[in-house]
């Protein structure tokens, strides 16, 4: 059974139920692939092999007894910012290097209840702050398509793991593009749901009005299956929305004929690399051939989304990360002189350079005398961007455009200039500011590196977004390409 990793999650779940292979075999196969890849890709921070094999035995017993849930025996990886009871949850930071979570995040608990087995915790940018996975305390993740390149971030470990078939699916989070951008750069399918759709309980907080959990998978169908189990109201999250979760899998076969697709004019700007644009235009032609009707849509305030984000996200981050004080959990400096010294040195030592940069940016924009000029102003412009989206969705069903301006860039290429790095998320941030569901699907290659097509829908239209992605994947095979060394 050496080809198990080439199967989709849906095929694996069916194979387990038909007893064509066991969960133990499956988990062992993926654990071997993870171990073999670690020295090269560094996609995992923690590997939970022992408990995974124990859980797989239990899953096999449940399958034999005919008591299987939708994901029973299927392996999954979790981004290391989802709390996992009894397992280190580091968030890619020295600050939480010694933190063993006392509880499961709602997402983790729900996937466990559905029968999924945790293979381990994936690498990520520290506290999800980064677009290249280079800010991790545990070292960068490498792109399986070309190990000199970044996998994107912040969910770089999850994306690389799915791309290299080290796990059939992985959880991820998206605050400004952290699911979609690595999905594009690693050639996998990623969906960030509507804000409030997936519980944030047990997700280490970065920017609470933007953070949203989601899925990275090889196909939209697999993403639909996992999202159906993850989504839903949770009283433990004060911004969780009590809206029924449709059956995303059952909704995949909606016909595309007559679908009104808006092409985001602002996304086809001069920053968009020419060959990346060519892949996107070809993907749009596929949609046209499937019956979609394309028209150009302009969102005039959208170009301000990156500056808005770099006020709002650091402001929320500086508040959220104030909890790391070296007292109750997390890194504590040696021999503190007094309480202030304990705070300052624990934080100075525990946080990496990018996290400190964002905390300080946030502290500055929230400080007396600057609050109105920066924070309040940004929240007003955010309203304009949101209004642009609402207006656009009055005339189109979904918006499409590139996920990123270029394919993956070289490791180290953008680390010296934070603003250049921030501009990587220029096409993804808008959906976070407006709380919209958005997906990225593979739609071609430039010099052996994957390109992602972005699909954005109105609030709570995950079923539509996934169906639109699925229709493309029925007609093309970009999503089933596997990097040569991991085929």
């Amino acid at each position: 059974m050496t080809d198990l990793h080439r199967k989709t999650l849906v095929e694996l779940a069916a194979g387990l139920r038909a007893r064509r292979f066991s969960s133990v075999e499956l988990v062992r196969a993926y654990l071997e692939r993870i171990e073999a890849s670690q020295a090269t890709l560094n996609a995992f921070i923690s590997i939970t092999g022992e408990s995974a094999l124990r859980d797989a035995q239990a899953a096999d017993a449940a399958l034999a007894a005919g008591a299987a849930g939708p994901l029973t025996g299927v392996p999954i990886a979790h981004k290391d910012l989802f709390c996992t009871q009894g397992v280190r949850t580091s968030c890619g930071s020295r600050m939480l290097d010694n933190f063993v979570s006392p509880y499961d995040a709602t997402v983790v608990a729900k996937l466990k209840a559905a029968g999924a087995i945790t293979l381990g915790k994936t690498n990520m940018d520290e506290f999800a702050m980064g677009s290249s996975n280079e800010t991790s305390y545990y070292g960068p993740v490498r792109n399986p398509w070309n190990t000199g390149m970044v996998p994107g971030g912040s969910s770089g470990g999850s994306a690389a793991a799915v791309a290299a078939r080290l796990a059939p699916v992985a959880t991820a989070t998206d605050t400004g593009g952290s699911i979609r951008q690595p999905a594009a750069l690693c050639g996998v399918t990623g969906i960030k749901p509507t804000y409030g759709r997936v519980s944030r309980y047990g997700m280490v907080a970065f920017a609470s009005s933007l953070d949203q959990g989601g899925v990275l998978a090889t196909t939209a169908m697999d993403a639909a299956l996992v999202l159906r189990e993850m989504a839903g109201f949770d009283s433990n999250d004060s911004t969780s929305v009590d809206v029924p979760v449709p059956d995303y899998v059952a909704g995949l076969e909606q016909p595309l004929a007559g679908l009104k697709v808006g092409l985001l004019k602002e996304f086809f700007d001069k920053g968009l690399e020419r060959r990346t644009e060519k892949c996107i235009r070809e993907a749009l032609r596929v949609y046209e051939s499937l019956g979609a009707v394309l028209s150009e849509v302009s969102l005039p305030s959208l170009p301000l989304s990156v500056p808005v984000y770099y006020v709002v996200a650091p402001a929320e981050c500086s508040s959220n990360l104030a909890r790391f004080d070296g007292v109750r959990f997390g890194h504590r400096c040696a021999n503190p002189r007094d309480l202030q010294d304990l705070y300052r040195r624990s934080r100075g030592e525990g946080f990496g350079a990018e996290v400190k940069r964002r905390i300080m940016t946030g502290t500055y924009v929230l400080s007396a005398g600057y609050f109105d000029a920066y924070y309040l102003k940004a929240q007003r412009v955010r309203q304009l961007i949101n209004a642009d989206f609402i207006r656009a969705f009055q005339s189109v069903d979904v918006l499409m455009g590139p996920t990123t301006p270029t394919p993956a860039f070289a490791i180290g290429a953008k680390t010296s200039d934070p603003v250049t790095m921030y501009l990587n998320d220029i096409y993804t941030i808008g959906a976070n500011l407006a709380g919209l569901p958005a997906a990225s699907i593979p739609c071609g290659f430039v010099e052996g590196l994957p390109v992602g097509l972005q699909i954005v829908g109105p609030h709570f239209s995950e079923a539509r977004v996934l169906a639109v992605a699925h229709a493309f994947q029925r007609d093309t095979d970009w999503h089933s390409r596997v990097p040569r060394d991991y085929a």
């Binding site: 010694n98 007094d338 010294d341 300052r344 300080m360 500055y364 400080s367 949101n386 603003v419």
Partner: protein, 96 residues
């Protein structure tokens, strides 16, 4: 205008972050360029625009019944602390 060393030191003090003297010029540079970048917002016409606090309109804070839902987990929680004694978190002496 680029931020001065003193400004960076004061922001770091507000944020309770200890910075080494070699880190300060790095943040002088990068924070100055970030502030210049976000300065683009100034030109946007936002007269009569209400600041957006939440992505979904019409949400209100829910209240739950005022009943105890948690059980005692202090030993489990304190396993993550650097210093505890007699069920208490220890910090350097605050009051002499």
């Amino acid at each position: 205008m680029p931020l001065t060393r003193e400004q960076i030191a004061s922001i770091a003090a507000l944020a309770r972050l200890d910075l080494s003297s070699s880190e300060i010029p790095i943040y002088q540079n990068s924070l100055s360029s970030i502030l210049e970048f976000i300065g683009a917002l100034e030109a946007a016409d936002t007269a009569n625009v209400v600041p957006m606090a939440h992505p979904l309109p019409g949400q209100s804070q829910r209240l739950r019944p005022d009943v105890v839902t948690e059980s005692d987990h202090h030993e489990q929680y304190q396993a993550n602390a650097s210093q505890v004694a007699a069920g208490l978190y220890l910090v350097p002496k605050v009051i002499e």
